[in-house]
Amino acid sequence: MEHIRKIFADERSDDHNAVGVSIERSDGLGHVTGKTQFYADRHYPGMLTLKMVRSPHHHAKILNVDTSAAEKMPGVVRVLTHADVPSNIYTILRLIQVEPNDEPVLAVDKVRFKGEAVVAVLAESEAIARDAVDAVRIDYEELPPVFDVEEALKPGAPLVNEYHGNNYFTYEGHHCRRVRYGDVEKGFAAADHVVEERYSSAPIEHAPVETTGCIVVPEANGRLTCYSNTQALFFTLDNAGLILNTPFQRLRLIGGTVGGGFGGKVDVITEPVAFLAADLTKRPVKFSYSREEEMQVSSPRAAERIYIKDGVMNDGRIVARQIRLYVDAGAYSRHSPYGTTKAAAHMPGPYTIPNVQVDAHCVYANRTPSSAMRGFGVTIGDFALEVQMDKIARLIGMDPMALRMLNAYRDGDAKAHGETTKGAALVEVMQEAAKLADWPLDGKYLSESSGKGG
């Protein structure tokens, strides 16, 4: 550990002492007594329940929406469609210029994934709201869906999201996020072995024990206060302001207590329509996902498919790495264009490789929109890269740890994106890990370092 302290000596003080000890949480006593207040622990007189009428189809045209029966039911206060939403089409990351807007708050003329919200019902109780949802009649004309990322990119595939015009997000005029460094073809030609593999993952739901939701309360002064379990208060506030076409200062967001988020509560989904509903009815509104909605409709970690082609020398040096990566964004962008950029930036992993080519595609398919989750864009890529490293090690008969040591990036190395590596500490971390795992690492690697020329 001493040398790691040395590496970062000029970057931080060495008085950290929290790792490896239990420190009492500031919210711990609230948790153990049940006094911690989650958003749903508030009650307001006259509070309405909001429930969504959702698409039973993966891909369909909406021919007709008939809310009249629901509106006549006793206890139903209001029914909302896209026509009630002042600025219905948005995308969360437009706030940081990731565009175009591609997602409706309430579906307009078609639905693009099973479970998409079409109509919002506001009722005096949850039971009434549920019955009212059943009473809304929507006529659909089913369209052929596409579920597979590579199928979606083939010519003639059904177009999922018209706002993009293609089934991919466009990065500065390109159909994918690209990294070009050296010449991979030359690398493959010079290599002793070429290792080509395909990796894939399924979507992963965060499944927080507290489902996504919020309560919006109209205040006497005309402002709207939202108690939410969002992980992204300011993204939510600004997007809700734009959707309602109302000055941001009219909206107030109170959050901070989240019953499990893991990235699953950064999408701006429940708040805008709840703000709107409270504004239109002048009554407090609660919109909570049911457990089923949380599992089916809330965004999961994106499924990914990754092809890795490596050129490897007999001594273990990786001389070329070509990556073709597909992120399944589902029907809408949410955070996936950003996640795909992260995926591209993360390649070729923490290794110094002279020839690198990455094509990372953000693909639209008729599936639940995916979004953030713990290290999204990176986690699945790391799984693929490290399994690939083990396969290479087995192929050439080399200790997998030694293979990683040999190729590990060191301070001063050029990275595929044109950055220079600094503060890597990777060699030292692997040395410590080998020690802890009792891994018999070749002695020569124990004396190496991540420092320049190490």
Binding site: A127, I128, R130, R291, E292
Partner: protein, 271 residues
Amino acid sequence: MALDIVKVDSVREAAATIAASGDAYFLAGGTILARVANTGGFPVRTMVLSDGLGLDAIAVDGDTIEIGAAATMTRIAAEPRLAFLRPVAESIGGPAIRNMATVGGNLFARYPYGDFAVALLALDAEVTIEDAEKTRTTGLDDFLASAPAGGIVRALRFKLPPDGAFRFTKVVRKHPHGASVLSIAAVLPETGGKVSNARVAYGAMSERPMRAKAVEGALEGRALDAQTLENALKVATDGCQPQTDPQATDWYRMTVLPVHLKRLLSGEGRF
């Protein structure tokens, strides 16, 4: 529409109340019905309480056991005379679920649940049903095969299996108490070293708990040796139509069933 709760004085009255209404159901533990009331599935407008009807008794008459339909998994696990069923009862869920879930309710559990019914099927249990007019009994095989024609399950009755003849295994992904990838229950009485009257039942290998009749046939009249095992495993998946759900794919269930059946029949592994 709100839910109505009705308290009655007898099982017969409960049966009559339910028969007279299209959307009334009998509430035992609540792990199935209250869940539907909360989250939907089919319309539940009235719940008739089983409370106070004396349906939770466990009675022993010689070698015949009668378990009241409202006996909970916790009660069964605590009953010394039913020690052989304890692993089944304890596999059903965490302590709160076991305090609520009942034997009668387990017969109605949806795929992949219903592991206690699998055990009862292997035990050749009889179901006592009471409707508005009369009480009748039917074999659990028939009960599970066809939608019950009204009435309320009062009790389950079966003969105690010979010592050591009952075996059970449940395969889960979430330990210690997940939903079934599959479950297997078997009663394998032996006479003179040969199996006689074998009964083998599967859970989650078909929409409802099912008998593995081909396996029973392969075991019948034979010693449980390597050859018999091989013959039984050849027909292990006969008649199986498992589903794909969050626990496992249908393919996985078909593929691993013989592995677990082999362990169960050969006495390896945990039972």
